[in-house]
Symmetry: C2
Subunit: 198 residues, 2 copies
């Protein structure tokens, strides 16, 4: 068996954290390659729902449930968890770097490092020094990566990914795409991968 699974995520998204930490192992079991697709939920929530905040903050009942659910999911999958002091974090900077990093050998490690910083270490992923230290931690050259992300041909990448997410019908995160089928929600990872076994 083989194939590809696109993983569409936002670093600010709690359920994307769980998916990001699980996807490599789950995909490896069916021999699938992960294609990492960072994008920004903010502009999508604003355009589709007219809100400038996370739906989990806008609707406190949903938020209350989500925080408890995250604790449970992290226990289930044995993932470290620490509720961030700021939610949602501004994920633009970390995502702009991810948009040029995901093709690199250290790209997936960088993605996991950012998620861990946000949801296991309660660090400020909007701070350039934090992103730089995460890049160094995964063996990349922070200055070179930032310089590359700022090149005129690379700068629009994140916006293009977000536009593409809208075209794909995305309205939240995380999402998986297998054989052109969109799956929304971290708990649908296995259903998405099952398409590759049919």
């Amino acid at each position: 068996m083989q194939g590809e699974i696109e993983f569409w995520f936002d670093f600010a998204s709690t359920y994307s954290y769980v998916a990001a930490m699980r996807i490599e192992e789950a995909s490896a079991r069916v021999g699938a390659r992960v294609l990492w697709r960072p994008f920004l939920l903010g502009p999508i929530f604003e355009a589709q729902q007219g809100i400038k905040d996370s739906p989990f903050n806008v609707n406190p009942a949903r938020g209350l449930y989500m925080w408890r659910d995250l604790e449970r999911l992290c226990a289930k999958y044995r993932l470290p968890w620490r509720r961030p002091s700021v939610f949602p974090q501004n994920s633009t900077l970390a995502s702009r770097i991810a948009a040029v990093a995901t093709e690199e050998s250290w790209g997936p490690d960088y993605v996991r490092a950012v998620f861990r910083a946000n949801f296991a270490e309660a660090r400020d992923i909007a701070a350039r020094r934090v992103v730089e230290s995460l890049l160094a931690q995964v063996g990349a050259d922070p200055q070179a990566v930032f310089a590359r992300a700022e090149l005129s041909e690379n700068k629009p990448r994140l916006r293009e990914l977000t536009t593409q997410a809208v075209r794909l019908g995305i309205f939240g995160a995380p999402n998986f795409i297998v054989n052109g089928e969109l799956f929304f929600g971290q708990d649908r990872l296995e259903d998405a991968l099952a398409l590759l076994s049919e």
Copy 2:
């Protein structure tokens, strides 16, 4: 192993349909008894989100995904599926009957019959004659059941269930409660039941 699982559902909810058709068999596997809890999402959506329609209609991207997802889930669980011509259907009448029916031996059959009428047969579950025919179909006496539902001590039941749903932190459907833990979404049925095996 034994225990109880509360199943909170709205007849208008597509994902509640999938859960309703799966829950008895899944619960039987772990020896759990199902407690059926009909309630109305409409007042909750209005109070929490300020909308008078399904969130799947309010946000077309979410709606488009949901309809495709339902086809897939029904194929996965081998459930009949026919997209209703009206969505969401007004589920008040059928739910008022469910509020007095779920303790009856034919109660669970009635719940499944209403869901099937809505999502497999595209019938109008807001019509009294449809609800009457579903009651007859499961072996109940339609006139007697309607008379009972209209007794002054029974009439407030559905509203009380909806109030209780809010108190439990419910913001959508379906939901499962096991050992005081709330699980939202039909795909969390197995996680909820797993609490009984711990």
